[in-house]
Amino acid sequence: MKKSIIPACAMLALSLVVIAGSQTFLAPCAHEDGSLGACHWAGQALLGEGCLLAVLAAAALALKKERAGLYLAMIPSSILGICTPGGLIALCKAPTMRCRMLMRPAMIILFAAMLVVALTGWLLTRREAR
Protein backbone atom coordinates (compact mmCIF):
# COMPACT_ATOMS: atom_id res chain seq x y z
CA MET A 1 0.00 0.00 0.00
CA LYS A 2 1.40 3.39 -0.97
CA LYS A 3 2.20 5.66 1.93
CA SER A 4 0.46 8.57 0.18
CA ILE A 5 -2.91 6.93 0.82
CA ILE A 6 -2.60 7.22 4.57
CA PRO A 7 -3.17 11.02 4.76
CA ALA A 8 -6.29 10.58 2.61
CA CYS A 9 -7.68 8.10 5.14
CA ALA A 10 -6.90 10.51 7.96
CA MET A 11 -8.49 13.37 6.02
CA LEU A 12 -11.66 11.34 5.48
CA ALA A 13 -11.89 10.51 9.17
CA LEU A 14 -11.36 14.14 10.21
CA SER A 15 -13.89 15.48 7.73
CA LEU A 16 -16.49 12.99 8.97
CA VAL A 17 -15.88 14.28 12.50
CA VAL A 18 -16.45 17.84 11.22
CA ILE A 19 -19.64 16.81 9.40
CA ALA A 20 -21.07 14.96 12.39
CA GLY A 21 -19.82 17.49 14.91
CA SER A 22 -21.18 20.56 13.15
CA GLN A 23 -24.68 19.12 13.55
CA THR A 24 -24.36 17.50 16.96
CA PHE A 25 -21.72 17.70 19.67
CA LEU A 26 -19.96 20.76 18.21
CA ALA A 27 -23.05 22.57 16.96
CA PRO A 28 -23.83 26.12 18.09
CA CYS A 29 -26.71 26.53 20.53
CA ALA A 30 -30.29 26.75 19.36
CA HIS A 31 -32.04 30.03 20.02
CA GLU A 32 -34.97 30.02 22.38
CA ASP A 33 -37.15 32.00 20.00
CA GLY A 34 -36.35 29.66 17.09
CA SER A 35 -34.51 32.33 15.09
CA LEU A 36 -31.27 31.50 13.32
CA GLY A 37 -28.26 33.56 14.29
CA ALA A 38 -24.98 34.07 12.50
CA CYS A 39 -23.46 31.22 14.48
CA HIS A 40 -26.00 28.81 12.98
CA TRP A 41 -24.83 29.78 9.49
CA ALA A 42 -21.23 29.43 10.57
CA GLY A 43 -22.07 25.85 11.57
CA GLN A 44 -23.69 25.24 8.21
CA ALA A 45 -20.69 26.64 6.38
CA LEU A 46 -18.44 24.31 8.35
CA LEU A 47 -20.71 21.41 7.41
CA GLY A 48 -20.27 22.33 3.76
CA GLU A 49 -16.50 22.62 4.08
CA GLY A 50 -16.41 19.26 5.85
CA CYS A 51 -18.38 17.66 3.01
CA LEU A 52 -16.05 19.19 0.43
CA LEU A 53 -12.98 17.79 2.20
CA ALA A 54 -14.62 14.38 2.57
CA VAL A 55 -15.25 14.25 -1.18
CA LEU A 56 -11.68 15.35 -1.94
CA ALA A 57 -10.34 12.71 0.45
CA ALA A 58 -12.47 9.95 -1.07
CA ALA A 59 -11.31 11.00 -4.53
CA ALA A 60 -7.68 10.98 -3.39
CA LEU A 61 -8.14 7.41 -2.17
CA ALA A 62 -9.62 6.30 -5.47
CA LEU A 63 -7.64 8.31 -8.04
CA LYS A 64 -3.92 7.63 -8.00
CA LYS A 65 -2.81 9.97 -10.79
CA GLU A 66 -4.74 12.97 -9.49
CA ARG A 67 -3.78 12.41 -5.88
CA ALA A 68 -1.21 15.18 -5.64
CA GLY A 69 -3.60 17.71 -7.11
CA LEU A 70 -6.37 16.62 -4.78
CA TYR A 71 -4.12 17.07 -1.76
CA LEU A 72 -3.22 20.49 -3.08
CA ALA A 73 -6.93 21.38 -3.28
CA MET A 74 -7.40 20.28 0.32
CA ILE A 75 -4.91 22.92 1.52
CA PRO A 76 -6.92 26.09 0.75
CA SER A 77 -10.12 24.26 1.72
CA SER A 78 -8.68 23.59 5.17
CA ILE A 79 -7.56 27.19 5.48
CA LEU A 80 -11.11 28.26 4.60
CA GLY A 81 -12.40 26.08 7.42
CA ILE A 82 -9.99 27.69 9.89
CA CYS A 83 -11.07 31.19 8.87
CA THR A 84 -14.81 30.55 8.89
CA PRO A 85 -15.93 30.50 12.55
CA GLY A 86 -15.51 33.94 14.04
CA GLY A 87 -13.56 35.22 11.04
CA LEU A 88 -15.50 35.04 7.79
CA ILE A 89 -18.75 34.48 9.65
CA ALA A 90 -19.21 36.23 12.99
CA LEU A 91 -20.33 34.40 16.11
CA CYS A 92 -22.08 35.45 19.28
CA LYS A 93 -20.23 38.04 21.31
CA ALA A 94 -20.48 36.45 24.74
CA PRO A 95 -17.53 34.16 25.42
CA THR A 96 -19.68 31.67 27.32
CA MET A 97 -21.92 30.98 24.30
CA ARG A 98 -21.48 27.47 22.90
CA CYS A 99 -20.37 28.69 19.49
CA ARG A 100 -17.43 30.55 21.02
CA MET A 101 -16.68 28.14 23.82
CA LEU A 102 -16.81 24.87 21.91
CA MET A 103 -17.54 25.06 18.19
CA ARG A 104 -14.93 27.64 17.23
CA PRO A 105 -11.87 26.20 19.00
CA ALA A 106 -12.76 22.60 18.12
CA MET A 107 -13.32 23.37 14.44
CA ILE A 108 -10.15 25.43 14.17
CA ILE A 109 -8.15 22.56 15.65
CA LEU A 110 -9.80 20.02 13.34
CA PHE A 111 -9.22 22.09 10.21
CA ALA A 112 -5.64 22.87 11.29
CA ALA A 113 -5.06 19.12 11.63
CA MET A 114 -6.55 18.67 8.16
CA LEU A 115 -4.18 21.31 6.80
CA VAL A 116 -1.21 19.41 8.21
CA VAL A 117 -2.57 16.15 6.81
CA ALA A 118 -3.09 17.71 3.37
CA LEU A 119 0.44 19.11 3.31
CA THR A 120 1.87 15.75 4.38
CA GLY A 121 -0.14 13.95 1.74
CA TRP A 122 1.00 16.31 -0.98
CA LEU A 123 4.66 15.97 -0.01
CA LEU A 124 4.44 12.17 0.19
CA THR A 125 2.75 11.93 -3.21
CA ARG A 126 5.41 14.12 -4.80
CA ARG A 127 8.17 12.00 -3.26
CA GLU A 128 6.58 8.79 -4.55
CA ALA A 129 6.25 10.31 -8.02
CA ARG A 130 10.00 10.97 -8.03
Binding site: G37, A94, T96, R100, M101, P105, I109
Partner: protein, 400 residues
Protein backbone atom coordinates in the same frame (compact mmCIF):
# COMPACT_ATOMS: atom_id res chain seq x y z
CA UNK B 1 26.75 10.92 6.84
CA UNK B 2 28.69 11.06 10.09
CA UNK B 3 28.35 8.26 12.60
CA UNK B 4 26.81 10.80 14.99
CA UNK B 5 23.81 10.97 12.66
CA UNK B 6 23.23 7.23 12.91
CA UNK B 7 20.51 7.64 15.61
CA UNK B 8 18.66 10.14 13.36
CA UNK B 9 18.88 7.79 10.39
CA UNK B 10 17.67 4.85 12.48
CA UNK B 11 14.65 6.82 13.65
CA UNK B 12 13.74 8.40 10.31
CA UNK B 13 14.13 5.27 8.23
CA UNK B 14 11.96 3.11 10.47
CA UNK B 15 8.89 5.38 10.58
CA UNK B 16 6.48 2.77 11.91
CA UNK B 17 8.62 1.87 14.90
CA UNK B 18 9.52 5.49 15.57
CA UNK B 19 5.88 6.62 15.30
CA UNK B 20 4.77 4.05 17.86
CA UNK B 21 7.42 5.14 20.37
CA UNK B 22 6.68 8.80 19.66
CA UNK B 23 2.98 8.29 20.26
CA UNK B 24 3.61 6.60 23.56
CA UNK B 25 5.86 9.34 24.90
CA UNK B 26 3.50 11.97 23.48
CA UNK B 27 0.60 10.45 25.42
CA UNK B 28 2.66 10.53 28.58
CA UNK B 29 3.68 14.15 28.04
CA UNK B 30 0.12 15.17 27.12
CA UNK B 31 -1.26 13.58 30.30
CA UNK B 32 1.39 15.20 32.51
CA UNK B 33 1.19 18.65 30.95
CA UNK B 34 -2.58 18.70 30.45
CA UNK B 35 -3.28 17.46 33.96
CA UNK B 36 -0.79 19.87 35.53
CA UNK B 37 -2.24 22.75 33.54
CA UNK B 38 -5.79 22.04 34.69
CA UNK B 39 -4.73 21.70 38.32
CA UNK B 40 -2.60 24.82 38.06
CA UNK B 41 -5.49 26.77 36.52
CA UNK B 42 -7.88 25.64 39.24
CA UNK B 43 -5.39 26.70 41.91
CA UNK B 44 -4.85 30.05 40.18
CA UNK B 45 -8.60 30.56 40.05
CA UNK B 46 -9.04 29.80 43.72
CA UNK B 47 -6.11 32.05 44.65
CA UNK B 48 -7.63 34.77 42.49
CA UNK B 49 -10.99 34.36 44.18
CA UNK B 50 -9.45 34.51 47.64
CA UNK B 51 -7.41 37.55 46.64
CA UNK B 52 -10.48 39.31 45.23
CA UNK B 53 -12.56 38.48 48.25
CA UNK B 54 -10.29 40.21 50.69
CA UNK B 55 -12.86 40.29 53.47
CA UNK B 56 -12.85 38.39 56.74
CA UNK B 57 -16.63 38.25 57.10
CA UNK B 58 -19.49 38.60 54.62
CA UNK B 59 -22.86 39.65 55.92
CA UNK B 60 -25.79 38.50 53.77
CA UNK B 61 -29.60 38.48 54.10
CA UNK B 62 -30.62 35.59 56.32
CA UNK B 63 -32.56 33.70 53.59
CA UNK B 64 -30.98 30.36 52.68
CA UNK B 65 -30.96 31.19 48.97
CA UNK B 66 -28.85 34.27 49.38
CA UNK B 67 -25.78 32.35 50.52
CA UNK B 68 -26.08 29.90 47.62
CA UNK B 69 -26.77 32.67 45.16
CA UNK B 70 -23.78 34.65 46.42
CA UNK B 71 -21.45 31.69 45.96
CA UNK B 72 -22.75 31.03 42.48
CA UNK B 73 -22.24 34.65 41.51
CA UNK B 74 -18.61 34.45 42.52
CA UNK B 75 -17.87 30.97 41.26
CA UNK B 76 -19.93 30.42 38.16
CA UNK B 77 -20.96 33.89 37.10
CA UNK B 78 -24.65 33.04 37.38
CA UNK B 79 -26.73 36.05 38.19
CA UNK B 80 -28.57 36.65 41.43
CA UNK B 81 -30.20 39.36 43.46
CA UNK B 82 -31.07 39.48 47.16
CA UNK B 83 -31.52 42.43 49.45
CA UNK B 84 -31.58 43.71 52.97
CA UNK B 85 -32.17 47.09 54.49
CA UNK B 86 -29.25 49.50 54.29
CA UNK B 87 -29.52 50.12 58.02
CA UNK B 88 -27.71 46.79 58.48
CA UNK B 89 -24.58 48.59 57.37
CA UNK B 90 -24.68 50.99 60.30
CA UNK B 91 -25.24 48.15 62.74
CA UNK B 92 -22.27 46.23 61.35
CA UNK B 93 -20.03 49.30 61.46
CA UNK B 94 -20.98 49.85 65.07
CA UNK B 95 -19.88 46.34 66.06
CA UNK B 96 -16.69 46.01 68.05
CA UNK B 97 -13.74 44.64 66.19
CA UNK B 98 -14.94 45.86 62.79
CA UNK B 99 -12.34 47.95 61.02
CA UNK B 100 -14.13 48.51 57.71
CA UNK B 101 -17.59 47.54 56.49
CA UNK B 102 -18.29 48.08 52.80
CA UNK B 103 -21.69 47.51 51.16
CA UNK B 104 -22.45 46.06 47.73
CA UNK B 105 -25.77 45.84 45.93
CA UNK B 106 -26.55 43.22 43.30
CA UNK B 107 -28.88 43.28 40.34
CA UNK B 108 -29.26 40.85 37.47
CA UNK B 109 -29.82 42.19 33.98
CA UNK B 110 -32.43 40.88 31.58
CA UNK B 111 -31.28 38.83 28.63
CA UNK B 112 -31.23 41.44 25.91
CA UNK B 113 -31.22 39.41 22.74
CA UNK B 114 -30.80 35.87 21.53
CA UNK B 115 -27.05 35.93 21.56
CA UNK B 116 -26.49 37.67 24.88
CA UNK B 117 -26.19 36.41 28.42
CA UNK B 118 -27.45 37.95 31.61
CA UNK B 119 -24.83 39.93 33.46
CA UNK B 120 -24.45 40.59 37.16
CA UNK B 121 -24.52 44.25 38.11
CA UNK B 122 -22.70 45.11 41.32
CA UNK B 123 -23.02 48.53 42.94
CA UNK B 124 -20.16 49.55 45.23
CA UNK B 125 -19.49 52.43 47.59
CA UNK B 126 -16.29 53.93 46.15
CA UNK B 127 -15.47 55.58 49.51
CA UNK B 128 -15.37 52.42 51.59
CA UNK B 129 -15.15 49.50 49.20
CA UNK B 130 -11.97 47.45 49.67
CA UNK B 131 -13.02 44.41 47.63
CA UNK B 132 -13.59 45.56 44.09
CA UNK B 133 -12.27 49.15 44.21
CA UNK B 134 -8.55 48.21 44.40
CA UNK B 135 -9.08 45.91 41.44
CA UNK B 136 -10.94 48.63 39.50
CA UNK B 137 -8.14 51.06 40.35
CA UNK B 138 -5.72 48.79 38.44
CA UNK B 139 -7.63 49.58 35.24
CA UNK B 140 -9.38 52.89 35.98
CA UNK B 141 -8.01 55.43 38.40
CA UNK B 142 -10.91 57.94 38.29
CA UNK B 143 -14.03 57.95 40.43
CA UNK B 144 -17.01 56.18 38.96
CA UNK B 145 -19.38 58.91 37.83
CA UNK B 146 -23.11 58.91 37.23
CA UNK B 147 -24.17 56.05 34.94
CA UNK B 148 -20.56 55.04 34.41
CA UNK B 149 -19.70 51.35 34.62
CA UNK B 150 -16.62 49.15 34.65
CA UNK B 151 -17.05 45.71 33.05
CA UNK B 152 -15.47 42.32 33.70
CA UNK B 153 -13.38 40.79 30.91
CA UNK B 154 -16.13 38.45 29.67
CA UNK B 155 -18.75 41.17 29.25
CA UNK B 156 -19.19 41.92 25.57
CA UNK B 157 -18.97 45.67 25.68
CA UNK B 158 -15.92 47.67 24.85
CA UNK B 159 -14.54 50.76 26.57
CA UNK B 160 -16.41 53.82 25.34
CA UNK B 161 -19.47 51.85 24.32
CA UNK B 162 -22.93 52.18 25.80
CA UNK B 163 -24.41 49.31 27.74
CA UNK B 164 -28.19 49.35 28.03
CA UNK B 165 -29.50 47.96 31.30
CA UNK B 166 -33.25 48.06 31.91
CA UNK B 167 -33.43 50.70 29.16
CA UNK B 168 -30.94 52.88 31.01
CA UNK B 169 -27.89 53.92 29.07
CA UNK B 170 -24.65 53.32 30.96
CA UNK B 171 -21.19 54.20 29.70
CA UNK B 172 -18.36 51.68 29.85
CA UNK B 173 -15.25 53.46 31.12
CA UNK B 174 -12.92 50.51 31.76
CA UNK B 175 -12.51 46.79 31.34
CA UNK B 176 -11.05 44.66 34.13
CA UNK B 177 -8.36 41.99 33.97
CA UNK B 178 -9.37 38.33 34.02
CA UNK B 179 -9.92 36.69 37.40
CA UNK B 180 -11.11 33.25 36.32
CA UNK B 181 -14.14 33.66 38.58
CA UNK B 182 -17.75 34.62 38.06
CA UNK B 183 -16.73 38.25 38.56
CA UNK B 184 -15.52 38.27 34.96
CA UNK B 185 -19.14 38.52 33.78
CA UNK B 186 -20.07 41.34 36.18
CA UNK B 187 -20.65 45.05 35.62
CA UNK B 188 -19.62 47.47 38.41
CA UNK B 189 -21.12 50.86 39.18
CA UNK B 190 -21.49 53.25 42.05
CA UNK B 191 -24.34 52.87 44.56
CA UNK B 192 -25.97 56.01 43.16
CA UNK B 193 -26.03 54.51 39.69
CA UNK B 194 -27.32 51.26 41.20
CA UNK B 195 -30.28 53.11 42.78
CA UNK B 196 -31.32 54.34 39.33
CA UNK B 197 -30.97 50.87 37.87
CA UNK B 198 -32.97 49.33 40.71
CA UNK B 199 -35.73 51.85 40.09
CA UNK B 200 -35.66 51.10 36.36
CA UNK B 201 -35.83 47.38 37.09
CA UNK B 202 -38.81 47.91 39.36
CA UNK B 203 -40.47 49.89 36.60
CA UNK B 204 -39.95 46.85 34.35
CA UNK B 205 -41.70 44.66 36.88
CA UNK B 206 -38.65 43.11 38.53
CA UNK B 207 -39.35 42.88 42.27
CA UNK B 208 -36.65 43.17 44.87
CA UNK B 209 -38.06 40.46 47.11
CA UNK B 210 -38.06 42.63 50.16
CA UNK B 211 -40.66 44.83 51.64
CA UNK B 212 -39.02 47.95 52.90
CA UNK B 213 -39.99 51.50 53.53
CA UNK B 214 -36.72 52.77 52.29
CA UNK B 215 -35.21 52.95 48.88
CA UNK B 216 -31.90 52.05 50.38
CA UNK B 217 -31.28 48.45 49.66
CA UNK B 218 -28.00 46.57 49.88
CA UNK B 219 -27.16 42.93 49.13
CA UNK B 220 -24.02 42.26 51.12
CA UNK B 221 -21.65 43.87 53.59
CA UNK B 222 -17.97 42.96 53.48
CA UNK B 223 -16.25 43.24 56.82
CA UNK B 224 -12.57 43.61 57.61
CA UNK B 225 -11.81 42.77 61.22
CA UNK B 226 -9.35 44.86 63.20
CA UNK B 227 -5.87 43.42 63.78
CA UNK B 228 -5.70 41.40 66.93
CA UNK B 229 -9.41 40.65 67.03
CA UNK B 230 -10.70 37.11 66.65
CA UNK B 231 -12.65 36.83 63.41
CA UNK B 232 -14.80 34.03 64.82
CA UNK B 233 -15.87 36.11 67.80
CA UNK B 234 -16.81 39.11 65.64
CA UNK B 235 -18.69 36.77 63.33
CA UNK B 236 -20.59 35.29 66.25
CA UNK B 237 -21.42 38.73 67.65
CA UNK B 238 -22.81 39.88 64.27
CA UNK B 239 -24.99 36.80 63.97
CA UNK B 240 -26.30 37.35 67.47
CA UNK B 241 -26.91 41.10 67.37
CA UNK B 242 -27.85 42.08 63.81
CA UNK B 243 -31.33 40.95 62.87
CA UNK B 244 -32.35 39.27 59.62
CA UNK B 245 -28.78 38.68 58.46
CA UNK B 246 -26.31 35.84 58.31
CA UNK B 247 -22.65 36.59 58.88
CA UNK B 248 -20.30 34.07 57.29
CA UNK B 249 -16.55 33.79 57.55
CA UNK B 250 -15.20 34.28 54.03
CA UNK B 251 -12.80 31.38 54.29
CA UNK B 252 -15.43 28.86 55.36
CA UNK B 253 -17.76 29.91 52.56
CA UNK B 254 -15.37 28.43 50.05
CA UNK B 255 -14.15 25.45 52.03
CA UNK B 256 -16.12 23.12 49.82
CA UNK B 257 -14.58 24.80 46.79
CA UNK B 258 -11.13 24.12 48.20
CA UNK B 259 -12.21 20.57 49.01
CA UNK B 260 -13.51 20.07 45.47
CA UNK B 261 -10.29 21.44 44.10
CA UNK B 262 -8.28 19.17 46.36
CA UNK B 263 -10.37 16.20 45.24
CA UNK B 264 -9.93 17.03 41.56
CA UNK B 265 -6.26 17.66 42.16
CA UNK B 266 -5.83 14.25 43.81
CA UNK B 267 -7.71 12.50 41.02
CA UNK B 268 -5.71 14.19 38.27
CA UNK B 269 -2.42 13.62 40.10
CA UNK B 270 -3.35 9.97 40.54
CA UNK B 271 -4.17 9.72 36.85
CA UNK B 272 -0.86 11.35 35.90
CA UNK B 273 0.99 8.93 38.18
CA UNK B 274 -0.79 5.94 36.65
CA UNK B 275 -0.08 7.13 33.10
CA UNK B 276 3.56 7.75 34.01
CA UNK B 277 3.98 4.29 35.51
CA UNK B 278 2.20 2.63 32.59
CA UNK B 279 4.25 4.57 30.05
CA UNK B 280 7.46 3.56 31.82
CA UNK B 281 6.49 -0.12 31.78
CA UNK B 282 5.42 -0.03 28.14
CA UNK B 283 8.56 1.87 27.10
CA UNK B 284 10.74 -0.61 28.99
CA UNK B 285 9.08 -3.47 27.14
CA UNK B 286 9.15 -1.63 23.80
CA UNK B 287 12.83 -0.74 24.06
CA UNK B 288 13.75 -4.21 25.26
CA UNK B 289 11.94 -5.69 22.27
CA UNK B 290 13.65 -3.22 19.99
CA UNK B 291 17.06 -4.23 21.34
CA UNK B 292 16.23 -7.89 20.90
CA UNK B 293 15.03 -7.29 17.35
CA UNK B 294 18.16 -5.33 16.52
CA UNK B 295 20.74 -7.44 18.31
CA UNK B 296 22.30 -8.54 15.04
CA UNK B 297 22.61 -4.89 13.97
CA UNK B 298 24.31 -4.06 17.26
CA UNK B 299 26.58 -7.09 16.86
CA UNK B 300 27.61 -5.75 13.45
CA UNK B 301 28.38 -2.37 15.01
CA UNK B 302 30.55 -4.14 17.61
CA UNK B 303 32.21 -5.99 14.76
CA UNK B 304 32.96 -2.71 13.04
CA UNK B 305 34.62 -1.41 16.18
CA UNK B 306 31.95 0.36 18.20
CA UNK B 307 32.70 -0.01 21.89
CA UNK B 308 30.08 -1.09 24.44
CA UNK B 309 29.98 2.48 25.68
CA UNK B 310 29.48 3.70 22.12
CA UNK B 311 26.57 1.32 21.65
CA UNK B 312 24.98 2.49 24.87
CA UNK B 313 25.40 6.09 23.71
CA UNK B 314 23.76 5.21 20.39
CA UNK B 315 20.77 3.63 22.13
CA UNK B 316 20.43 6.49 24.61
CA UNK B 317 20.64 8.97 21.73
CA UNK B 318 17.81 7.21 19.93
CA UNK B 319 15.61 6.90 22.99
CA UNK B 320 16.44 10.47 23.99
CA UNK B 321 15.53 11.85 20.58
CA UNK B 322 12.33 9.84 20.58
CA UNK B 323 11.43 11.03 24.08
CA UNK B 324 12.20 14.66 23.26
CA UNK B 325 10.16 14.64 20.07
CA UNK B 326 7.33 12.79 21.80
CA UNK B 327 7.42 15.22 24.72
CA UNK B 328 7.21 18.25 22.44
CA UNK B 329 4.38 16.64 20.51
CA UNK B 330 2.55 15.75 23.71
CA UNK B 331 2.91 19.23 25.16
CA UNK B 332 1.56 20.63 21.88
CA UNK B 333 -1.40 18.25 21.90
CA UNK B 334 -2.21 19.08 25.53
CA UNK B 335 -1.89 22.80 24.86
CA UNK B 336 -4.23 22.47 21.88
CA UNK B 337 -6.68 20.54 24.06
CA UNK B 338 -6.64 22.89 27.06
CA UNK B 339 -5.94 26.50 26.08
CA UNK B 340 -8.61 26.96 23.39
CA UNK B 341 -11.21 25.36 25.67
CA UNK B 342 -10.51 27.37 28.82
CA UNK B 343 -13.99 28.87 28.96
CA UNK B 344 -15.61 25.48 28.40
CA UNK B 345 -13.57 23.84 31.17
CA UNK B 346 -14.36 26.71 33.53
CA UNK B 347 -18.07 26.52 32.77
CA UNK B 348 -18.29 22.74 33.05
CA UNK B 349 -16.31 22.51 36.28
CA UNK B 350 -18.18 25.37 37.91
CA UNK B 351 -15.04 26.32 39.79
CA UNK B 352 -12.73 29.31 39.56
CA UNK B 353 -10.37 28.63 36.67
CA UNK B 354 -7.61 30.98 35.65
CA UNK B 355 -4.87 30.09 33.17
CA UNK B 356 -1.55 30.52 34.99
CA UNK B 357 0.97 33.12 33.88
CA UNK B 358 3.20 32.45 30.86
CA UNK B 359 6.15 31.87 33.19
CA UNK B 360 4.22 29.21 35.13
CA UNK B 361 3.04 27.55 31.92
CA UNK B 362 6.63 27.43 30.62
CA UNK B 363 7.74 25.97 33.93
CA UNK B 364 5.06 23.27 33.71
CA UNK B 365 6.09 22.51 30.11
CA UNK B 366 9.75 22.24 31.15
CA UNK B 367 8.89 19.89 34.01
CA UNK B 368 6.84 17.79 31.59
CA UNK B 369 9.73 17.62 29.13
CA UNK B 370 12.12 16.58 31.88
CA UNK B 371 9.70 13.97 33.26
CA UNK B 372 9.23 12.48 29.80
CA UNK B 373 12.97 12.51 29.08
CA UNK B 374 13.52 10.82 32.42
CA UNK B 375 11.10 8.02 31.56
CA UNK B 376 12.69 7.62 28.13
CA UNK B 377 16.15 7.77 29.64
CA UNK B 378 15.40 5.09 32.24
CA UNK B 379 13.86 2.82 29.61
CA UNK B 380 16.77 3.46 27.24
CA UNK B 381 19.38 2.88 29.92
CA UNK B 382 17.75 -0.41 30.90
CA UNK B 383 17.67 -1.47 27.24
CA UNK B 384 21.32 -0.48 26.87
CA UNK B 385 22.23 -2.50 29.95
CA UNK B 386 20.49 -5.54 28.48
CA UNK B 387 22.52 -5.06 25.33
CA UNK B 388 25.74 -5.79 27.17
CA UNK B 389 24.45 -9.32 27.65
CA UNK B 390 24.23 -9.85 23.90
CA UNK B 391 27.23 -11.83 22.63
CA UNK B 392 28.14 -10.38 19.22
CA UNK B 393 29.44 -13.70 18.04
CA UNK B 394 26.25 -15.52 18.98
CA UNK B 395 24.04 -12.75 17.57
CA UNK B 396 25.89 -12.81 14.26
CA UNK B 397 25.52 -16.54 13.96
CA UNK B 398 21.74 -16.47 14.43
CA UNK B 399 19.96 -17.43 11.27
CA UNK B 400 23.00 -19.10 9.72
Amino acid sequence: MGASRLPFKNLLRKPGRTAALLLLTALLAAAVFGGSLVIGSLRSGLDSLEARLGADIIVLPSSAESKVSFKNILLQGTTGAFYMDASVLDQVRAAQGVEIAAPQTFLASLKADCCAVKVQIIGIDPETDFIVKPWIDESYSHELGDMEVVVGCNVTAGVGETLKIYDQHTHVVARLAETGTGLDTAVYCSLDTMKKLLAAAEAKGVTHQISSDTDDLISAVYVKVKDGWDVGLVNTWLNGHVRKVTAVRARSMFTDVSDSLAGISRAVTGLIGAVWALALIVLLIAFAMMIHERRREFAVLRLLGVSRRGLRAEILAETGLCSLAGALLGVGIAAAGVFPFTTLIETRLGLPYLTPSAVTVLRLASVTLLATLLVGGVAGAWAAARLSRVDPGVALREGE
